[in-house]
């Protein structure tokens, strides 16, 4: 990189001095500051903010997808009535893969992003603590919105308060169901039956003896209407013969 030689002529120097004085007086009268006074002002956050994650227990089907996909390994499934996810906020990186991977929309993001915990143990949030937003203390009196254009930044201050709300986007998936692609390859291990949370897989007839000899056509599974298409059996199957298919 070549540095240009700065002109030292007195006229140029004087011009620079005048520029400095102009800029300083301009800033002293109307500063270009873009910071906000945080506890008293609150920034207006966009709709797609990744904040505190809220769980809707009635929608959760205990499919473990959130725990499987979590890149930081922050989700621990804990048991009461059924398995529900609990998030360890010491590890959570707020990628919200869990929210996006949830097939039923049980996990949802909220616009709450500034949380305080009393201890490290408290940061491991239990499923029952995730069902509603935590208690909040609001100190803000006005909200600030950033108006970013190509020309520059501008802050718009309004005396209205932002609500902390839960943004639940239900997945637009067509209903899917598990299907058995090659019934003749089935081992009859019944792991799919054990893993299914809704007891949707029923063994119609099994033509495999306990010693492993195939008699007739092998094993035939019947997948009933109870199937919600969570895909647990697909992951569990040792022969990889199960698959999800869209149904009308």
């Amino acid at each position: 990189m070549k540095v240009e030689k700065i002109s030292r002529s007195p006229l140029e120097e004087l011009k620079r001095h005048v520029g400095v004085i102009q800029e300083a007086f301009k800033q002293a009268v109307i500063p270009d500051r873009v910071t906000i006074e945080y506890p008293r002002e609150r920034r207006k956050y966009p709709e797609n903010l990744r904040g505190f994650i809220v769980l809707d227990k009635s929608r959760c089907i205990s499919c473990f997808r959130c725990a499987q996909i979590c890149p930081a390994n922050a989700i621990q499934m804990s048991y009461f009535e059924n398995f529900y996810p609990g998030i360890d906020y010491t590890k959570c990186i707020f990628c919200h893969f869990c929210v996006e991977s949830c097939p039923t929309g049980a996990l949802a993001s909220s616009t709450l992003h500034d949380m305080a915990f009393k201890s490290l143990e408290d940061m491991k949030v239990k499923p029952n603590q995730m069902m509603r937003l935590p208690a909040t203390i609001r100190e803000d009196v006005q909200s600030v919105e950033y108006d970013v254009t190509k020309k520059g930044w501008r802050l718009i201050r309004k005396m209205e308060l932002e609500d902390i709300k839960v943004v639940r986007i239900l997945p637009k998936l067509k209903p899917r169901r598990a299907f058995c692609l090659e019934p003749e390859s089935c081992l009859g291990c019944r792991q799919c039956m054990e893993v299914c949370p809704h007891e949707a897989i029923v063994m119609e007839r099994c033509e495999i003896t306990l010693e492993g000899q195939i008699v007739g056509k092998g094993c035939v599974l019947k997948i009933t209407e109870k199937c919600v298409g969570c895909g647990l059996c697909v992951r569990q199957c040792p022969m990889k013969i199960l698959s999800l298919k869209e149904v009308e």
């Binding site: 400095v20 002293a28 270009d32 006074e37």
Partner: protein, 361 residues
């Protein structure tokens, strides 16, 4: 004895028509009338109320906050805010002062204990004495035809106390700060004195009354702009403000000569530069901006002149405060070279202009 003193006070009181009924009422009460007469006695009023100690204190509270706030705005920060939010942290300096007052003042082992404690208080003598000589219309402490020269002489004493403070602190940073203070002292004092002498030649006298009278049509700043410029730069150097903040240099030597001070003693030495700035600005306003002359309000009577002097001083200092956020600090050799070449040359030009204009006027 008391009655003689009372008569002396009573014969030379400040006349303010606005509060005259209250004063008349208070003068009828024994003992209180003595105190009222003392406060309104012109020399006492000049030294203790305005432009003396009371407004000096108010000015200190104002300027510390104003400077921090202004610098913060230019640098895109917020500045002091949490103390008294409705007035944007305006009493921050008062809060700091109270904290200094109750904090322990530590005197470390290596310090020269008597001087270490004495000097911050001794430094106030050359700062407060000039105020007695600077007149504001009828309100004057000591009337003297050599007031300007006396003020300059007292101002020249302040750096000596600062150098002594650095010596008494017995700390490496304080030593470096003292040496730097001495270098800066040498480099600003000569142009400063020459600039003042040029104005004395211009007015033909060192008497502020003559100076203000001669500025009734054209202010001194227009009669001798070069001296005006030299005085401003010398003022920045003398009070170690930012382009020449060499002796204090926070980032390099951590407040220089005052590095070892804490508590109330630090509070005293911290405001030294601000008080020096106040005295120099008073002299500046008297010499260049028409002193106490201004719009006369009938109701305020004798208070007009001190108020105008004070308002002009505050405006000058407020404008000087912004220089802090505009320029980077000079190196020590740059500052000394600059003052010994350009500044002395400019001051000699100012002297020639002063003599020429003085001869014409």
């Amino acid at each position: 004895m008391i009655s003689t003193l009372f008569e002396i006070f009573k014969s030379n009181m400040v006349q303010i028509p606005l509060i005259q009924p209250i004063i008349d009422y208070l003068m009828q009460i024994p003992l209180i009338n003595f105190i009222v007469a003392l406060i309104l006695w012109r020399p006492f009023f000049a030294v203790v109320i305005i432009p003396g100690l009371t407004v000096l204190l108010l000015y200190l509270l104002y300027i510390v906050w104003f400077e921090r706030k202004l610098t913060a705005r230019v640098q895109w920060r917020v500045g002091p805010l949490e103390v008294a939010r409705p007035i944007r942290g305006a009493i921050q300096a008062l809060a700091d002062g109270l904290r200094y007052f109750f904090q322990e003042a530590i005197v470390h082992k290596e310090a020269h204990r008597p001087y270490f404690i004495q000097l911050p208080i001794l430094a106030f003598i050359p700062i407060l004495l000039p105020i007695a000589f600077i007149p504001a219309g009828n309100v004057v402490g000591i009337k003297s035809p050599y007031a300007v020269q006396l003020v300059v002489a007292f101002l020249a004493l302040i750096p000596i106390t600062i150098i002594a403070i650095g010596w008494a602190s017995n700390n490496r940073f304080a030593f470096i700060g003292s040496v730097r203070e001495a270098l800066i002292y040498v480099s600003y004092e000569i142009p400063f004195i020459i600039a003042v002498i040029s104005m004395i030649y211009l007015y033909g006298s060192g008497d502020p009354y003559v100076a203000v009278e001669k500025q009734s049509i054209v202010p001194g700043a227009i009669m001798n702009p070069i001296a005006f410029l030299v005085f401003i730069i010398a003022m920045l150097m003398a009070t170690s403000r930012l382009p020449f903040e060499i002796p204090e240099a926070d980032q390099e030597i951590a407040f220089g000569p005052f590095v070892e001070y804490s508590g109330m003693l630090f509070g005293l030495v911290m405001v030294l530069a601000y008080e020096k700035l106040y005295v120099m600005a008073l002299l500046f306003v008297t010499l260049f901006l028409g002193g106490w002359s201004g719009f006369y309000c009938e109701l305020l009577g004798d208070l007009n002149a001190p108020l105008w002097l004070f308002i002009k001083t505050i405006i000058v200092i407020s404008i000087l405060a912004i220089v802090r956020s505009m320029y980077a600090r000079y190196r020590i050799d740059q500052a000394v070279r600059y003052s010994f070449s350009w500044l002395i040359a400019l001051s000699i030009v100012a002297l020639v202009i002063g003599i020429a204009v003085g001869w014409i006027v």
